[in-house]
């Protein structure tokens, strides 16, 4: 019964709808497109840095008298900014302390929740679902993890494992709701997950003002996680890098195995490629939607665990930051492949770690990083969109993905 309700496209069903075709094209371009998108975005970011630089605008006033001055101003503006970005994300010899010089570990720290939530989006993508709800799933994951982490006393190791499990369950519930509604009623997962994001924020804020508020505090922030509930730091107290990063790498390996080697993964890919064909082949599409959103939500929940048990240590309604939305870009850039997502998350972690350094040391607004990230999305998503808007036939290269 529910199966027929899921299908809303008009007959004949031979041709897949315009929307899902565009969607599939966006998701299945080659790695080269990702690299070029990053490159062009950086070039345009560089132009923006140059035109907003006061030295450049000062020297362009006498461009014809001394063109070299303008060009060297452009060069120093852009090279200083990107130099600071690069040094902040990797190794910065100009920093005051040796801990501060090793920005690479900040990059890995920032990348950890992005890897996990990027995987969440990637997995759902492969089953043909657009999970915009990573934000809410991260929040719920962090909340569940927090309840175990700061309200319960458990022995070491067991406590952390319980926190991880609780976070995964919290995210899975939130993702599962969207999957279940999609499977049962055909409710579009984009709408449902976006709405669930808002509900998650309000729910967490409510809990933080009542049950989860730190005792004696008036602010909507929870108590601190117990030490036993925290990810151990990998490199001592001078660095924020923690075992959450290892969890993220394990998650990449598991998701890669799940998608490429397991029966379940094959089912998801078949459903993603063509739900009707998958159903004809005897697969339970509705069960696929529900389970993939459960797993996707669990992965996003783990990103919430990485936040609360890794870097943040307390729960507040802003703990997800913009991770849930950056995750979508990361998955796009990673061509919705597990290891692609991993490297895309590293790049975004580097942007985050280096962006701060760029803002502080080169006086370039950190918004430039947001612009570069947005341009990346634009360049990846735009070509198929424009083709579809203007009905230009793309050169189909069947089997180019996989």
């Amino acid at each position: 019964m529910s199966e027929t309700q899921t299908v809303k496209e008009p007959t004949p069903p031979a041709k897949e709808s315009q929307g899902s075709q565009v969607f599939r094209e966006i998701m299945s371009g080659s790695a080269m497109i990702s690299v070029l998108a990053v490159f062009v975005a950086l070039v345009i970011g560089g132009i923006l840095i140059a035109v907003t630089d006061p030295r450049v605008s000062a020297s362009s006033g006498y461009f014809f008298a001394d063109p070299g001055a303008t060009l060297s101003a452009v060069w120093s503006a852009v090279s200083e900014a990107y130099g600071a970005l690069w040094r902040g994300a990797t190794y910065d010899p100009t920093a005051r302390t040796w801990q501060g010089q090793l920005g690479i570990f900040e990059t890995l720290t920032f990348a950890t929740p992005l890897i996990l939530s990027g995987l969440a989006v990637t997995l759902a993508f492969r089953a043909g679902l657009f999970n915009i709800g990573a934000q809410g799933q991260i929040l719920l994951g962090a909340t569940f993890a927090g309840i175990i982490g700061f309200q319960m006393q458990l022995p070491p190791v067991i406590h952390l494992l319980a926190v991880i499990l609780a976070g995964a369950i919290g995210g899975a519930i939130w993702g599962g709701i969207a999957g279940f509604l999609k499977a049962r009623t055909g409710a579009h997962e984009v709408i449902v997950t976006i709405m669930l994001n808002y509900i998650a924020v309000s729910l967490v804020l409510y809990l933080l003002k009542n049950q989860l508020k730190a005792p004696g505090s008036t602010n909507p922030i929870s108590a601190q996680m117990h030490d036993t509930a925290l990810f151990p730091l990998l490199l001592g107290p001078n660095f924020r890098l923690n075992a959450g990063f290892i969890l993220a790498i394990l998650a990449v390996i598991v998701v890669a195995w799940l998608l490429n080697r397991s029966t379940l993964g094959f089912e998801y890919r078949a459903i993603g490629a063509n739900p009707k064909a998958a159903r004809t082949a005897g697969m339970l599409v509705s069960r696929g939607y529900t389970t993939v959103m459960l797993i996707s939500g669990a992965l996003a929940g783990l990103a919430g665990v990485a936040q609360i048990a890794g870097t943040e240590k307390t729960l507040d309604s802003d703990i997800a930051g913009s991770i849930g939305f950056d995750a979508i870009t990361v998955a796009l850039l990673g061509r919705s492949k597990p290891w692609g997502t991993f490297f895309a998350a590293l790049l975004f972690g580097a942007f985050k770690a280096g962006g701060t350094s760029m803002a502080v040391n080169a006086d370039v607004s950190i918004d430039i990083v947001a612009v570069v990230q947005s341009l990346i999305v634009l360049f990846i998503a735009a070509p198929p969109l424009i083709r579809s808007i203007f009905r230009i036939k793309a050169v189909r290269r069947e089997g180019a993905s996989a």
Binding site: Y62, A65, T97, F110, N219, Q307, A359, V360
Partner: protein, 376 residues
Amino acid sequence: MEEPLKNNISGTFKRGATVGTVALGAMALLLTGCGQAPAPAGGGGSTSGNAAAANYLGCIVSDAGGFDDQSFNQSSYEGMKKTVTDVGIKMKEAQSSTKSDYEPNLNQMANAGCNLTFTVGFLLADATKKVAAANTDLHFAIIDDNSIKAPNVKPVVYDTAQAAFMAGYTAASVSKTGKVGTFGGINIPTVTIFMDGFAEGVAYYNKQQSKDVKVLGWNVDTQQGLFANTFDIIQEGTKATNNLIGDGADVVMPVAGPLGKGAGDAILAANKDGKDVKLVWVDSDGYLTAPTYKSILLTSVVKTMGEAVETIVKDDLAGKFDPAPYIGTLDNGGVALAPFHDLDSAVSADTKSQLDTIKKGIIDGSIKVPSKSSPK
């Protein structure tokens, strides 16, 4: 002279508008690019400040509100900018967009070797505490938080209730409906301290003048009231203000950062429909920072953060840094009631002289403004 030239130009360009546009663009480029290259600067550079100041690095990290929040981030930031001009120090800045940015931003400031770093808002308390502990040779100052006890951290807090008390008294004196209203962003001490002071100012007016002006939106005893539960969604400010106006309030004090704009919009709309509602701004003098609402702006409860920033930098530069909290009061000018500006005539001369007495009374301690949120 001009006519033939104009004709000539338009005649030439008639055939192709594109050509004209391109030519004009090129001309503009030529004109803007035709300036003289400056002669190479002859050493020296800025010699205004002393050498110590020129090597001194003052830094500031915002909370998630950003430096353009028309509130405490902005006033602290402007104070820092002013200090750069006045004293000749160097400055670095970092904006935070979420809580997870606080610690990395602060670490970056420590890496850059900032002599003194201002962190704006209690939300940065944990990060400030941690980074200050790891960099004991650097100084920090945190605004609106008094929780950190460390030898290199100076808390900067404001007993805002004192100025809000005066605003409450003024509001009660101009109210025609006998009801004044307030609402907050989130029920946190830095917000409710305004509401406490406001409500107590109204109560004091009632006692002194034997009136019965009601305060809507805040109850000092239960510490509960009307909250938008956000500092971001401006429309929530409009909603809350419409509720207050609907219940009869004709003076509204929003304590919710940018939501004050939503409140101003609601009042402008209500006044168009024949109401006569006035606005009390908070944090900065709204007459200067939010001039759209000049016509309805009764007064503002001002925290003069800029002065505090400059004072602390100057002290540190002179080697006089101390971790004792700076508490802004009516006495030291850290908090103040802004002038009535355009609505000056709405406030009676009696009220003005009473306000002077109240200010003296608060300063000498004969009038108490108790607030649970006051800095101790």
